[in-house]
Symmetry: C2
Subunit: 331 residues, 2 copies
């Protein structure tokens, strides 16, 4: 029988630290947590959760609602991973339900998770508006936290990144490298994330005294395929640009393919940047300049809000510029 002591020994920490990491109520450094998770895996240690659940008539689970159109990509797989890992750190099981294709179905998914007796619910909304989300929170007895939206009436029940500010930081960097003809591949129309990044792009240009050229704006739908199509469309317009900023890394990789096919070298002939800091950006050749979205932190925060609300207050997170090889300095 493996005990918590075996885990502590293997991870080279005290029993109390393992316990703290598992109940999640006190801060434990990421690097130490990773060692503990590794040790749990290697020893096969299992906190006796199910027995506890049965005694409590509780499922000890945390629900997460995301719409299935978003599952298929590295950004959301990373989110689901962090949601599961952080739920586990709090001794809970993550249960994911599908928000499907409408605000009503997102509501249904929340209702399903409530009917499954989840202790708390996280939602990364696609269709529900901020006003509808505020109402849902007001009507629910179960704690609910909203990821990636700023709720006006419930600021302590949401976690988000200021996408417009992140985009401004990226644009400031690109402009400082001497790029003035910067094309933008926007995300899906109506997506608050996409619209914030687009607004950040427009504002940054205007603040630099550059009137945005509509010929330099194309739209994708977040996927690599759509980025490739957007890149082809942009190239077909035959307008000059020295840099492409894509609304996420997946689309940037698609744009890169379109550039290669057109015989353009990155970054010698065209510079490229994205958002999200997905794994592939680090490994792509050339490696991709991007904005790191602190997904792990945000999700840890979201889980904290619903499970240990007393420890959690602020809701806004900052993206961070990651400079790599794909942007060339023109100056």
């Amino acid at each position: 029988m493996v005990t918590i002591l075996d885990v502590a020994r293997l991870a080279g920490v005290s029993k109390a630290t393992v316990s703290r990491a598992l109940n999640g109520k006190v801060f434990v450094r990421e690097e130490v947590k990773a060692r503990i998770m590794q040790a749990i895996e290697e020893t096969g240690y299992k906190p006796n959760q199910l027995a506890r659940n049965l005694a409590n008539n509780k499922t000890n689970s945390v629900g997460l609602v995301i719409t299935n159109g978003l599952y298929n990509g590295p950004f959301f797989s990373s989110m689901i991973y962090h949601a599961a890992t952080n739920s586990e750190m709090h001794g809970r099981q993550l249960v994911l339900a599908d928000g499907k294709h409408s605000a009503q179905e997102e509501r249904d998914a929340i209702d399903l998770l409530l009917s499954l007796r989840c202790e708390a619910i996280m939602i990364y909304p696609k269709y529900l508006t901020v006003e509808e989300l505020d109402e849902i929170i007001e009507q629910s007895e179960t704690p609910i936290v909203v990821i990636n939206r700023e709720l006006v009436r419930h600021r302590s029940q949401c976690v988000f990144v200021d996408h417009q500010q992140s985009c401004a930081a990226m644009m400031a960097y690109l402009l400082a490298q001497g790029h003035t003809r910067i094309a933008f591949v926007a995300g899906s129309e109506g997506s608050p994330t996409g619209e914030s990044r687009l607004a950040g792009y427009h504002n940054a240009l205007r603040n630099a005294g550059i009137e945005p050229d509509p010929q330099l704006l194309v739209r994708g739908t977040w996927s690599t395929d759509s980025g490739y199509e957007a890149g082809r469309e942009l190239l077909a317009r035959d307008v000059p640009f020295t840099c492409v900023l894509a609304g996420n890394d997946d689309m940037a990789i698609g744009v890169a393919k379109a550039c290669h096919e057109a015989g353009l070298r990155l970054p010698q002939d065209v510079s490229l940047a994205g958002f999200d800091d997905s794994v592939i950006g680090k490994y792509y050749n050339p490696s991709l300049t991007t904005i790191h979205v602190p997904m792990d932190e945000m999700i840890r925060h979201a889980v904290g809000i619903v499970l240990t609300p007393e420890d959690n207050a602020s809701c806004s997170h900052q993206g961070e510029l990651v400079r790599r090889e794909s942007v060339r300095t023109l100056l």
Copy 2:
């Protein structure tokens, strides 16, 4: 109020076809399904599932167990996507639960989903053995299907790809291009998928009269990071090879980075191939030769097995060679 007729009109099909696609009992072409899903999204149509559930005292949900260590990557995000989409096609909601770090926790996740009254359960096991899975199926009143394992006693309750045969097909192709010094980046030790691919590699070499060189074998743990480390280790050994076959596409991309850093060009100086046919392989430069794993088909089949068992029989699927730019012909 949006009706099924609005969806049918927009998709350019009959009401009956929409209905067939939604109840999932009859075959509807992929392309038509995609149009219908698009139309559902655009119109905001919602089959009145929740009302039906409430009447039935059923959750109308299908459970899926995967361990969280696997969530974080394109292969599993694609699997979760297909599982949700295919469940929806059958009028069900996908509920994902985390198998965590041991066979016991995989059992706990199944038990949780059963206690949530899921109608059927799919499991992509990491820790449970084939024998344990056979037992679980025998003891459960709820239909269970196992993904990516061949169950001897319950061949109609599993879907899998013959990884060894897929690897043999890849090796036959590489050998036919004149490669004889082929390095292999194996996946995690003890993973049945990894061991099957490794066996396929060894057998193919021996069948071609080539004794496997242990210096050409390195191990990763499926992630891009681990592929990068394995690539560096291989290069540090300073043994000659003309081609690297990685146990999945993620690791192949990591190997590519290690090669670039060492000043090796792909595919002029070294050829590279992977497995899974992940999105990035198509967009990488050079595009990556790989084995397509028919995930959509397998998951459609798995959902079919548990929800409409009368329509589903065989369990084995075939991987398919996808030839792209990353492998050079030496002859």
